[in-house]
């Protein structure tokens, strides 16, 4: 699509973004498909934002806690070609014991993201949004916590591994996942959005999903699966068998690399490098061969 070509040229010329991580899926193009099926597939891109923790206060780690999310919104709006859709992979708000305050934060977050030019937005909760009331307040503002949708030949699955405070997907949702997957061919292009890592990245810091192995087992028969998630406030790329997992930066504070220090305390704000470690990403879904090119964007001062 010409928009994609223009956007790629713009990225290259402007030198925007960090390293481009190309996620080859090792799957040959499905040349035997009928033309109408192939016509439904096209290159496109989406934007992933994550972990904005609206309501967080902690000037030592982010003195601009109320300004960082609006900056990201403005930066996405300034993209020369708008994405097909935007996804927020959880922890939209920072947790609070007060149900009224939780709703106030969710409402303020919603009002800010209403400023995005592209209102084709998919939301999911993080544990800060949902674990203290099993997703009740989140549901009032953003609807279902797990669902699926299709876009240009890709089947997207949103998994909720946070409404249960014990970080379980749970029997009911796993059964729903199995039923959803059963309708997909084994070589379907499948992208999973979730908040916590589905694999045990570093359980010592609660960077895991207790029954994530069951979701991965359900996905294993499918040759073309990629997972995008949040929670760990940093970029991380990992592979379990043929399934790739890509975590996103946060929009509030970075966290240290898994196990790199005794505690997972947030990385302190560096006045010499404000917003360092914060950002969002573009994901280019390339139809043939199926692949995902990831471009990271820092939040700019």
């Amino acid at each position: 699509m010409s928009g994609t070509i223009d956007r790629r040229a713009f990225l290259r010329l402007a030198g925007l973004g960090g390293a481009v991580f190309a996620s080859g899926l090792g799957c040959a193009a499905r040349s035997g498909e009928p033309m109408d099926q192939r016509a439904a597939e096209d290159d496109f891109y989406f934007v992933q934002l994550s972990d904005s923790h609206w309501g967080f206060q902690g000037p030592v780690v982010n003195p601009d806690a109320r300004g960082t999310l609006p900056k990201a919104v403005a930066e996405v709006n300034a993209l020369p070609v708008q994405p097909d859709f935007i996804v927020f992979t959880g922890d939209l708000t920072h947790t609070t014991d007060d149900p009224a305050e939780r709703r106030r934060r969710l409402g303020e977050f919603r009002d800010i993201v209403r400023g995005l030019k592209n209102q084709n937005i998919h939301f999911m909760p993080g544990e800060h949004d949902a674990s203290l009331d099993r997703g009740a307040a989140f549901g009032e503002y953003f609807g279902a916590t797990h669902y699926a949708f299709d876009h240009k030949g890709v089947h997207f699955i949103v998994l909720d591994n946070v409404s249960d405070p014990a970080a379980r997907i749970g029997e009911e949702q796993l059964a729903w996942l199995a039923a959803d997957l059963a309708r997909q061919p084994r070589d379907a292009r499948i992208v999973v959005f979730t908040h916590r890592p589905l694999f045990p990245l570093f359980p010592q810091w609660d960077w895991a999903t207790r029954d994530g192995d069951r979701a991965l087992a359900a996905l294993m028969p499918y040759s073309n699966v990629t997972v995008f998630y949040g929670h760990i406030h940093q970029e991380n790329h990992h592979r379990t068998a043929h399934i790739e997992h890509h975590s996103a930066h946060s929009l509030i504070f970075p966290l240290p690399a898994p196990g790199s220090q005794p505690r997972r305390d947030p990385v302190r704000w560096d006045p010499a490098h404000p917003y360092r470690g914060l950002g969002w990403r573009e994901v280019e879904a390339e139809a043939r061969p199926p692949a995902y090119a990831i471009t990271e964007f820092p939040v700019r001062s």
Binding site: T95, S131, A166, A167, Q204
Partner: protein
Amino acid sequence: MPSRRRFIAGAAAALAAGAAGLIAAAPAEPVIRVTARRFVFLPNVLTLKLGAPATLEFTSADVVMGFSLPDFNVRTDIIPGQVSRLRFTPDKAGTFTFLCDIFCGDGHEGMNGTLHVVA
């Protein structure tokens, strides 16, 4: 027969005494009591002996918590009003992190502690 009965009774008494002596000689299995409270374990530093079974007893002072020791693949829920027991034998020495693995609010991320397993 009376003498035989006396022999059997005497032998049984000796066996019982011997068994009691064995029990008395064995080191008592440690039981460590831990209270979970938002957002801290008390105590939050534990020491166990390598290869020696031990029981951890947990109570919650407020809400549902979890105790997880990923390096040993053991965990338990901690339910208010109940005592949760976790018995295990450390099979490796070193320093390990334990944590609350049930989200309990702002501060949950810092609710952890250290287990020392010594030879």
